[in-house]
Symmetry: C2
């Protein structure tokens, strides 16, 4: 932990915020280094810090009353996490565990809340972020209810492609397939089969290296029916 902290420019969560406000937030922010596979925040505990991931990967998972656990999201720099819990002052709804060694900012929750109460600009910024987080959860619920694992994998791969115009793409999976399977809501074995199924649609894999030969075809496969505009329930 080192007190020297610079939030300027690098943290999307605070993008566009007044420099003087940023400075005040820096005053109660610390940089933290954590080894791999460490619990950063524990579901059920009272929020102490808002975290921002600077380097490494963090897995968010939700544990049910019976102890079973579902991986909800894998974060990359520069994502924030547990924002919603900090803002509600309610116990963390998920557990955050490092996948790799990580560097992160820990922003004191009480001090931040205090600032939020008096600075509408900050409150609004956070409001937007929580709302966006909410939207990604809605999307995940929808995909779990409607799509097969292969389709979810296809969507995930397509989302890795930045250029919307590209007809082919090549990249490396950001983490191992066990984690990817959990993120997609299936077992590793099934993920393997999903990759095998997508092979027929121009998806080639060598270890963690992925090549999409025909993005249009993959898109068609991941999105089964043609977009009907019927607004039926």
């Amino acid at each position: 932990m080192e007190p020297a902290v610079d939030l300027t420019g690098n943290v999307p969560l605070f993008e566009g915020l007044d420099p003087s406000l940023l400075e005040r937030i820096e005053g109660f922010t610390e940089t933290v280094s954590v080894g791999a596979d460490q619990v950063v925040v524990n579901q059920g505990e009272a929020p102490q810090h808002l975290h921002i991931l600077l380097d490494g990967q963090v897995a968010l998972s939700s544990t049910a009353a019976d102890g079973t656990t579902a991986l909800v999201e894998v974060l990359h720099p520069v994502d924030h996490f547990v924002l919603a819990s900090v803002l509600t002052r309610l116990p963390y709804v998920m557990t955050a565990r490092t996948v790799t060694p990580c560097q992160l900012f820990a922003i004191d929750a009480a001090a931040l809340l205090d600032l939020v109460e008096h600075e509408p600009a900050l409150a609004n910024l956070l409001l937007r972020s929580v709302s966006r987080d909410f939207g990604t959860m809605v999307q995940q619920v929808r995909d779990l209810k409607l799509r097969t694992a292969a389709q979810r994998l296809g969507c995930y791969l397509l989302a890795r492609v930045k250029d919307p115009e590209a007809t082919r793409a090549e990249f490396r999976l950001p983490f191992d397939k066990g984690l990817l399977a959990a993120r997609l809501g299936c077992r590793q074995e099934n993920l393997s089969r999903a990759f095998a199924a997508l092979r027929a649609h121009g998806v080639e894999t060598h270890g963690s290296r992925v090549i999409l030969h025909d993005i249009a075809q993959l898109r068609a496969a991941a999105v089964p029916d043609e977009p009907s505009e019927a607004g039926s329930l």
Copy 2:
């Protein structure tokens, strides 16, 4: 639509808010009556109003690019909806459709946002609500990934019981089983079988009337393993 509106005391979303602020919100709020099975807001459109359900039931569903639709939540009075979309000024992430004839408040989005920007108390209140909404989505993702339909039904029934001490309970399902099935993420036929499976655990049904004979046993069935405190990923 009638301009006479009273937000005081009845709307949890604004609970504890300064009366003068409430009054200002009332200034750009309208009461709306809508028949059954009408679309109130359409996914993809720009947010015009924040809605508060006063009477009736509203179904929220999310539509994928391919036109398939997943029911995400069924609302009861006095729930709000599309708060997150209003706050982000981004297109609605879900479609809201009335199930029964409804009465609702429609609060002008632009005016509300304007107020939010200058009134930290209001911003904080909404922050809490969006965060709570986020939490329920996380829970739903977890349940979809981990539980069977029968277990989800069990949890749903247990959640209908207000008294945590009760050993038995009797109540009426708030809507028909087709909707309940969609909410739980399964087909009507499967819900029927789930009810049949729970019959062995003290769940008795007569149409929409439900009797839970042994809440403890039902809880044990809906929550398969014993609560292990192991914090494994």
